[in-house]
């Protein structure tokens, strides 16, 4: 395991209101270089909204997000992507009209480290091999299984060689064998020293993959620390199981 | 003061037309670009019955509205419903319904030109009438009052009756409306038909004080669209206020600068809305 390095991403006082509803309330946390940070909490606690704020799907109502001292909050999604943040989606979103290779080239052509033409294609093929889709390269995207679509989406997100990778419930909906393959895949990314924010419900994955966890409930941070510490925190247990 | 009164009177009838379109787009999700032609059909009926049978346009309106309701219901069921079924997504439906209603719009213009190719000129209640110290033609005032009655009835119906509430539910969220047991296809057809009836009624009223012709519909479609977007899609109250606003601005531009520039002024408003408040004057910013 690589030792977590300096602070890469800084989230301060992040707040998102939808009309009267406060979905994310005054969240503050840091993400260090080379670390896998788990963003966990019960359903509806604001995890995905936080991811959407970081990736720029919509602007925050208040607070700031900075990466390497550069302000990300307030920028449009495409600008944030170009500064080195890429993501996968909670419900997998591959590009059905494009070939597998082009799906990955799409991630390389406009992102953080841009590649185009033959170089991009070669790079995309390499990524597809690595991610376990080497044998499926010529299949239409629509014929891929669910986990393979998730792999493809991950390859697309990696293709821009992002500084920070956001995985929004990337392991959700997989069967037990697929789940183990998925966890191994992320573990490999972690060994490479990538910086990842992981929204996840699968406890095994959280325990084995995350260096640190931030726990959310009702839009606010209720705990932060190593997976072991936060998962034994009484307040966290109460949040997951209810008050009784 | 003259501008204020005439502008509000004009805006009142615009409001009716915009409410009609808003029912069709906001609820049935059909961007009806033949809306203006429905209006002109109403006007043509008023003109024709007045010149041949001396029938008062207000009476014509009472006859035209149910006919337009049936006609629009049939259009929805026969021509638009297949498009709704065929569409894979909202974008596809928008493109298809735009093209289909363009087709209807041109076909209707063609038919109306064949019936009466000249201006629909007739004179009904063109007497001067004093209101708030301003003299306006009586027909404008009558049209405004009738439009007001229809508009208020419609708003009350939408807010305080069961079918009205169902219509509003579909407008807010089609999927959720389905889940609570609302028959969405039926409500959509009803809204489309009702919208058409209101628009045609608006046409009979407008024809009493503006001389129309068979091909002028697209201008009204344009204005109704601008009003609907300005007021917020699905928002009847917004439509009314936006319509009054547009009536005022147009009257001011026509009196103070040049009548040829009314469309230009409508466009400037439209541009401003798109740039600064695309969710409509009163809408919440969508995320």
């Amino acid at each position: 395991m690589t030792k977590p390095g300096r602070t890469l991403l800084k989230v301060q006082g992040l707040t998102k209101r939808f009309g009267g509803l406060v979905a994310v309330n005054n969240m503050t946390f840091d993400v260090h270089e080379h670390e896998v940070l788990g963003l966990i909490g019960p359903n509806g606690s604001g995890k995905t909204t936080t991811m959407n704020l970081i990736s720029g799907a919509f602007p925050p109502s208040d607070g700031s997000i900075t990466m390497n001292g550069q302000r990300l909050s307030g920028l449009a999604a495409h600008q944030i992507a170009r500064r080195g943040v890429s993501r996968t989606f909670q419900l997998v979103r591959v590009l059905p009209g494009l070939s597998l290779v082009d799906n990955v080239v799409a991630g390389a052509a406009f992102g953080y480290r841009k590649r185009w033409g033959a170089e991009a294609e070669q790079f995309a093929r390499g990524l597809l091999e690595r991610i376990g889709l080497g044998d499926h390269m010529h299949l239409p995207v629509g014929s891929l299984t669910y986990i393979d679509q998730k792999r493809l989406e991950l390859a697309r997100a990696l293709a821009g060689e992002p500084e920070v990778l956001l995985l929004d419930e990337w392991l959700a909906g997989l069967n037990p064998t697929e789940l183990q393959e998925g966890i191994d895949l992320i573990a490999e990314l972690r060994r490479e020293g990538r910086t990842i924010i992981l929204v996840e419900h699968v406890m095994d994955a959280i325990r084995s993959l995350c260096d640190r966890c931030v726990v959310m409930n009702s839009g606010a941070k209720i705990a932060e620390g190593t997976p072991r510490d936060v998962l034994s925190d009484p307040e966290v247990i109460r949040a997951y199981l209810g008050d009784e | 003061m003259d501008i204020l009164v005439s502008g509000l009177l004009l805006g009142g009838t615009y409001a009716l037309v915009a409410m009609g379109l808003n029912l069709q787009y906001g609820v049935a999700r059909i961007m009806n670009l033949a809306s203006g032609e429905m209006l002109v059909l109403g006007a043509l009926a008023a003109f024709w019955l007045f010149t041949t049978a001396q029938l008062s346009p207000v009476l014509t309106m009472i006859m035209v509205a149910p006919l337009a309701f049936i006609g629009n219901w049939l259009i929805y069921q026969l021509l638009l419903r297949p498009l709704v079924k065929r569409a894979k997504n909202q974008g596809q439906l928008e493109v298809d319904s735009i093209l289909a209603t363009f087709g209807m719009s041109f076909a209707l213009v063609g038919i109306m030109v064949a019936i009466h190719g000249e201006y629909f000129t007739y004179s009904y209640l063109a007497n001067p009438f004093e209101i708030l110290g301003t003299t306006v033609a009586l027909n404008r005032f009558v049209a405004f009052v009738v439009a007001l009655i229809i508009g208020v009835t419609l708003v009350l119906w939408l807010n305080f009756t069961r079918p009205g509430t169902a219509v509003r539910a579909v407008s807010v969220n089609t999927e959720a409306a389905k889940l609570v047991g609302i028959n969405v296809p039926r409500i959509s057809a009803l809204s489309f038909a009702l919208g058409g009836a209101v628009t045609a009624a608006g046409g009979t009223l407008i024809s009493t004080f503006i001389t129309l012709d068979a091909s002028v519909g697209v201008i009204f479609t344009m204005k109704a669209l601008i009003i609907v977007i300005m007021g917020g899609v699905g928002d009847m109250r917004g439509s009314i206020i936006a319509a009054l606003l547009l009536g005022l601005v147009e009257t001011a531009v026509a009196t103070l600068i040049d009548p040829g520039l009314t469309l230009v002024s409508a466009y400037l408003i439209f541009l401003g809305i798109l740039l600064f408040r695309p969710q409509g004057l009163f809408g919440k910013r969508a995320t």
């Binding site: - | 961007m31 363009f102 087709g103 064949a114 697209v218």
Partner: protein
């Protein structure tokens, strides 16, 4: 580069060379039909450049075309500027208009764009007439040149070929790739780093440029220009019909639509001059209900059926 890409451009080049001989083998009536058809080919191909990948129905053709024609006329008549200078300048005015319209509407849903372009030609016509009547004095605008129908035909052919070539290049460029991704999932496109609004506006500006250029080149054909003549809403609709009839999924689709439709339309205009609007409506309805993917769609469906 795939082989089929080169084959396509080779075939197109062959067709352009063939088409260049038309004025040498015919004149009079058929040449004038050929000029009209070539005008629509250029306009419909330029239209498809933007509306094909975005699926946004643009009705701005009349406005861009009018800007081209009107500026040439007013430049030559009122300011004694040469045709060529105006031909170089006028399209850029259309590009500016396209940028404004695009910036205002293309960030939002497609419906706003359609509505905005629907009355655009009419609105500009109103504005131009007002300026002309109040500030410039309403003189007639003449475009007097030595161009023959054949010259106009060749210029239009060059424009059409250039538009096609640019479309072919865009399809193979990052912009074209971006449009393909946007067509698949605009939300994903944004998160991949694509400035989706800018990409759409850029394409729309290219379309605006060439549409105005066609207006410029056609102006000498009319010789006497009035705002009512060149800012024609009908033109916008005809171009939409022809492009959709051919099919917008392929760049060559519109060409397939223009040629039969020009002939049909010519016949209708001559035989039923008072019913053109009705037939215009009928054409829209026929396309939407019976050939929603155009001739291209029909051909590809048949080809698929034959294969499997």
């Amino acid at each position: 580069m795939t082989g089929s890409g080169w084959k396509e451009i080779g075939l197109a080049a062959g067709l352009v060379i063939l088409a260049a001989f038309v004025p040498l083998v015919t004149d009079g009536y058929w040449l004038s039909i050929a000029v009209t058809a070539m005008m629509y080919i250029a306009l419909a191909t330029a239209w498809t450049l933007f509306s094909g990948p975005t699926h946004y129905i643009s009705l701005a053709t009349g406005a861009f075309f009018g800007i081209g024609g009107y500026l040439v006329a007013t430049g030559m008549s009122d300011y004694d500027i040469s045709f060529w200078v105006m031909a170089a300048v006028a399209p850029f005015v259309a590009v500016v208009l396209a940028a404004i319209v695009g910036a205002a509407t293309l960030r939002l849903s497609g419906i706003y764009f359609v509505i905005f372009t629907l009355g655009l030609a009419e609105m500009i016509r109103g504005l131009v007439s007002w300026v002309q009547n109040n500030f410039l004095g309403s003189r007639g605008l003449y475009v007097l040149t030595d161009f023959t129908e054949a010259h106009i035909y060749w210029m239009l052919l060059i424009i059409a070929a250039v538009v096609y070539l640019i479309g072919w290049l865009i399809e193979r460029s990052r912009l074209g790739f971006a449009m393909k991704i946007i067509g698949n999932d605009e939300g994903v496109a944004k998160h991949l780093g694509i400035n989706t609004a800018a990409a759409k506006v850029a394409l729309f500006m290219i379309t605006g440029y060439f549409t105005a250029l066609v207006g410029v080149v056609i102006a000498p054909r009319y010789s006497y220009i009035e705002p009512n003549l060149v800012f024609s809403p009908e033109l916008s609709f005809l171009v939409v019909i022809m492009a959709l009839l051919g099919g917008t999924q392929r760049l060559w689709g519109p060409i397939v639509g223009v040629i039969p439709f020009t002939l049909i339309w010519e016949t209708i205009s001559v035989s039923f001059p008072n019913a053109t609007t009705f037939y215009l409506g009928l054409s829209f309805l026929l396309i939407v209900y019976f050939i929603p993917n155009g001739f291209v769609g029909l051909v590809e469906k048949l080809a698929r059926r034959r294969q499997g």
